[in-house]
């Protein structure tokens, strides 16, 4: 927080707040005062939505749940228990947090469409429940005495100032989140949830935390909304338009930035409220039409929102000026040695016995047993569909084994989530490269380093170190989306390395690379072994594997066909027939 206060980003926020306050205080018309109060209220609601959906990428159509619960918490506290909104709003926020937990835990099992639709159902169900409970239309009582103690003011400009203060607080909270490992973890989830989980990020934990924080903020907005409007109905706080407004102001202004909801609310709220006031009797529902059209136009014209469109325009000239970082130089960085070399035979690090996994009738992995010695490179080979990737998925927790045991340094691995497996010291890369496209190379690796380092600065150092080890140090600031195939493979490797794994699972790391590139990667991998990392690598290009692996394990139709020294395995007649073909054998003999 201290670092944040000295930040450059605070200047525009302070300027905005001062300007807004000046306008709010100078306006005498009570209708304009109301609009100036509602802009920050919906700004806060948008910030709440952005904090969750904008950063994590999980679209919530149900933020009205939190808004409505906050509004009703404040109202019921005041009406039934005579509790002032000054306390009612914090109570509402607590309710919002609680609702986030209750909603989050079951709903986070869902993804994509299912998540979005389920979130929609919560506020609509709450709407009917509050109607049934008899809270159709609850007015907040006017307090003549000690009005200020009950957050009631004759001077309506005070409401606008309070709303602004709430919005500034929400902006600051968002900024803190955005710059911490909290925000980085959410961004990683947004870009590739599986990769984030495999990089040791407890995705469920961060999603729940984000929803809790977001729920609290939305509840505060709802509570304050009730105080301002002095009457609460289920339709106005749990209705579809409430959820939609949170999403629309954010998408309109710009998703994934604190300025998005602020810009969106500042444009759309006065526009729709103004039209409603001018044309409301003749054209009821004009407000909803405006929101609908706004969101249609923005999705077609500037899908990321106004903020990003304007920023891209402004920075386009500058981006061209800076040349891309030199790529060729990167690979030449020498690899320092890190630890005493470990020789094969120092003990078993990973042991599988009788591991099986079926998908319906397809037995992808059948009764697989093997052991991996510390410091060795084990090559798992086999044709497509042999069960290699499934085996990795079972090992790192993406899939549950049907039978068998897996022991890693005395720990049972089966039944652990991927992020737990990663924390134990098992890193992995993917057959189809899974990087966080929109992040820089360094940020990608920092995500991996979080597991090994609780301190953010130390995690960055660890990440830079990992980049040096794979030879990508020169590209640290380049966006990951623009890398070549080889560089992407190295990036994934660095991300896995940054967690300081004892064992690395590499899924077809050499696939699709040219001869020279393969040589470079093999050199990196050999150096990793020198440093004491144990490697298990899946491959079906035999040639490269013969030069790298200490031992071979051949899978076919989910079963272990052969295992042993590479020279023995390639001679094994069963392997030759099932996989290599006789030609290869003939060529290898010469």
């Amino acid at each position: 927080m201290g670092r944040l206060l000295r930040d450059r980003a605070l200047l525009p926020i302070a300027l905005f707040a001062a300007a807004y306050l000046a306008v709010a205080l100078s306006v005498q018309n009570s209708y304009y005062q109301l609009i100036l109060t509602l802009v920050p209220v919906w700004g806060v609601m948008g910030l709440s939505w952005n904090l969750f959906s904008g950063y994590s990428g999980l679209i919530s159509f149900g933020h009205a749940s939190f808004f409505g619960l906050g509004a009703y918490a404040v109202t019921i506290a005041l009406v039934q228990y005579d509790i002032t909104p000054w306390l009612g709003i914090p109570i509402g926020m607590a309710v919002g947090v609680l609702a986030a937990i209750v909603i989050g835990y079951p709903t986070f099992r869902l993804r994509g469409h299912y998540f979005a639709l389920s979130m929609l159902a919560y506020p609509l169900a709450l709407l009917y429940i509050f109607q049934w409970l008899g809270y159709q239309e609850v007015p907040l009582p006017m307090k003549r005495e000690h009005a200020a103690l009950y957050m009631q003011f004759d001077d309506h400009r005070i409401y606008a100032a309070l709303a602004l203060a709430m919005m500034i607080a929400a902006i600051l909270v968002s900024l803190v989140v955005e710059r911490s490992r909290f925000g980085m973890s959410l961004l990683a989830i947004k870009q590739n949830e599986a990769a984030a989980e495999a990089a040791g990020i407890d995705t469920l934990k961060w999603k729940i935390r984000a929803l809790m924080l977001s729920g609290a903020i939305a509840a505060a907005a709802g509570g304050f909304y009730a105080v301002v409007l002095l009457v609460v109905t289920p339709e106005s706080v749990f209705g579809m338009l409430t959820s939609a407004q949170a999403l629309i102001v954010t998408l309109f202004g710009g998703v994934g930035t604190v300025w998005g909801p602020v810009i969106g609310a500042s444009i759309l709220i006065p526009l729709s409220e103004g039209l409603q006031a001018e044309l409301g009797d003749k054209l009821p529902g004009i407000q909803g039409v405006v929101y609908g059209l706004a969101i249609i136009v923005i999705i077609l014209v500037a899908p990321e929102g106004i903020f990003w469109r304007v920023r891209d325009r402004l920075t386009r000239g500058r981006a061209v000026a800076s040349p891309p970082a030199p790529v060729a130089a990167a690979a030449a960085v020498p690899l320092p040695h890190r630890a005493l070399p470990v020789r094969p035979g120092d003990g078993t690090i990973l042991e599988l016995t009788g591991v099986s996994k079926s998908f319906g009738g397809l037995r992808a992995v059948q009764d697989v047993s093997f052991a991996v010695e510390q410091g060795m490179i084990l090559g798992i080979i086999g044709p497509n569909g042999a069960g290699k990737t499934t085996l990795f998925n079972v090992l790192n927790g993406f899939q549950r084994a049907d039978a068998g045991t897996v022991t890693f340094q005395g720990h049972n691995l089966l039944g652990r989530k991927p992020n737990r497996v990663c924390r134990l010291g098992i890193g992995r890369t993917f057959q189809v490269v899974r990087v966080f496209q929109r992040m820089s190379v360094l940020q990608n690796v920092v995500i991996g380093a979080y597991v090994a380092e609780p301190d953010d600065a130390a995690a960055r150092a660890l990440a830079r170190d990992a980049l040096v080890r794979v030879g990508l140090a020169g590209l640290a600031e380049a966006p990951a989306g623009g890398l070549t195939n080889k560089q992407l493979r190295l990036l994934e490797l660095a991300r896995a390395l940054a967690a300081r794994p004892k064992l690395l699972l590499l899924d077809e790391t050499l696939a699709g690379l040219g001869r020279g590139e393969i040589d470079e990667l093999l050199e990196v991998l050999r150096n990793l072994r020198q440093d004491g990392t144990t490697l298990v690598i899946i491959e079906h290009t035999m040639h490269a594997m013969v030069r790298l692996a200490d031992r071979f394990l051949v899978l076919d139709h989910g079963r272990v066909l052969a295992s042993g020294l590479p020279s023995d395995v390639v001679e094994d007649p069963g392997v030759v027939e099932a996989y290599l073909g006789k030609k290869w054998l003939a060529r290898a003999r010469h």
């Binding site: 299912y114 009917y128 049934w132 939609a244 609908g292 706004a294 969101i295």
Partner: protein
């Protein structure tokens, strides 16, 4: 008549009511299911298409003077059927000019296959239709009256002349029409050339393009047809359910629930899903207050999604 007999009668009555209304829900869901199944797009505006179908039916009946031509009993059903072609054109144009810009081939390479853009675009369409409906049609609840809705056939009495079931005639005719539409749709999808094109485009759009299938056209037809079918279902609902421009929200979750229950992507499944939701909704009246009926549907929807997600992730098997 003793307590057990009253219970039995209520139960049978709810069962029959559930079947009657369930068939209409089934057609409604089949419309959404068709769009989702072929395009993999969740259409937020489906409930509002249904609402437009209701008003369309209302105005067609009044505008063409169907009451005078066909008599008050038949007119509402013809009106409902005529809403179909009207909404087919509407859906076709909407897809061509709006929806196709974020779906189909254009969305293949996009982030998340463009799912979010699609959800949000259809949300925008929904908001415009709902609130535009308020401007055009007014907020006054409307209904399509038919003398049949106050007539009923009595089945029974059974069991010592005490237990009998009443079949509302309006709902019974709507049921028969709904079943016929469902059957027709099933035949179309399963056996016609068009149906095969739609299924191919649904199964693998890229491969379908290579096979010379116009995937964009297939999507357009699926979208228009799905819109039309739901609109007809809306016209049928309107014969026994008062409606206003926001009525879509009451039904949109029913549709989602039915489609999810039937297994997303299966059109026939969506029909049975809708049927199940209808049965559950009517059965819930035996134990819940009517206000909680809709809440019960949401609860069931959430339960379905949460308890059986594994059976529902049709396309989530990705290679790692």
């Amino acid at each position: 008549m003793n307590g057990a007999e009253i219970l039995l009668e209520n139960f049978l009555q709810a069962l029959v009511a559930g079947l009657l209304v369930g068939a209409i829900y089934g057609v409604m869901c089949a419309g959404l299911g068709l769009i989702f199944g072929v395009m993999r797009v969740i259409n937020f505006a489906q409930g509002d298409f249904m609402m437009v179908g209701m008003y369309c039916s209302l105005y067609v009946i009044a505008g063409l003077g169907l009451q005078g031509l066909l008599g008050p009993a038949l007119a509402p059903y013809v009106g409902a059927l005529l809403a179909g072609p009207a909404l087919f054109v509407g859906g076709y144009l909407l897809h061509r000019h709006l929806i196709s810009r974020v779906t189909g081939i254009r969305a293949l390479g996009a982030e998340n296959e463009g799912h979010y853009a699609q959800l949000i675009l259809t949300l925008g369409v929904a908001l415009v239709l709902e609130n535009g409906g308020l401007i055009v049609f007014g907020s006054e609840p409307q209904s399509i009256r038919t003398p049949l809705s106050s007539r009923a056939w009595e089945l029974g009495p059974f069991i010592g002349d005490d237990v009998s079931i009443f079949l509302n005639q309006a709902r019974s005719y709507a049921f028969l029409l709904a079943v016929a539409i469902g059957l027709g749709l099933w035949l179309l999808i399963s056996y016609s050339r068009l149906g095969k094109t739609l299924r191919a485009a649904a199964d693998n759009p890229t491969a379908a393009i290579y096979m010379g299938i116009d995937v964009d056209r297939a999507h357009r037809i699926a979208f228009a047809l799905g819109t039309a079918i739901t609109a007809v279902a809306g016209g049928l609902v309107a014969t026994s359910y008062p409606f206003q421009p926001y009525v879509g929200l009451d039904f949109v979750i029913i549709m989602y629930a039915g489609v999810v229950l039937g297994g997303m992507g299966s059109i026939l499944g969506a029909f049975w899903g809708g049927m199940t939701i209808g049965l559950v909704q009517q059965m819930s009246t035996l134990v819940l207050s009517p206000q909680l009926q809709n809440a019960a549907i949401f609860a069931i929807f959430l339960l379905i999604v949460l308890v059986r997600p594994q059976g529902l992730f049709g396309r989530s098997t990705e290679r790692t």
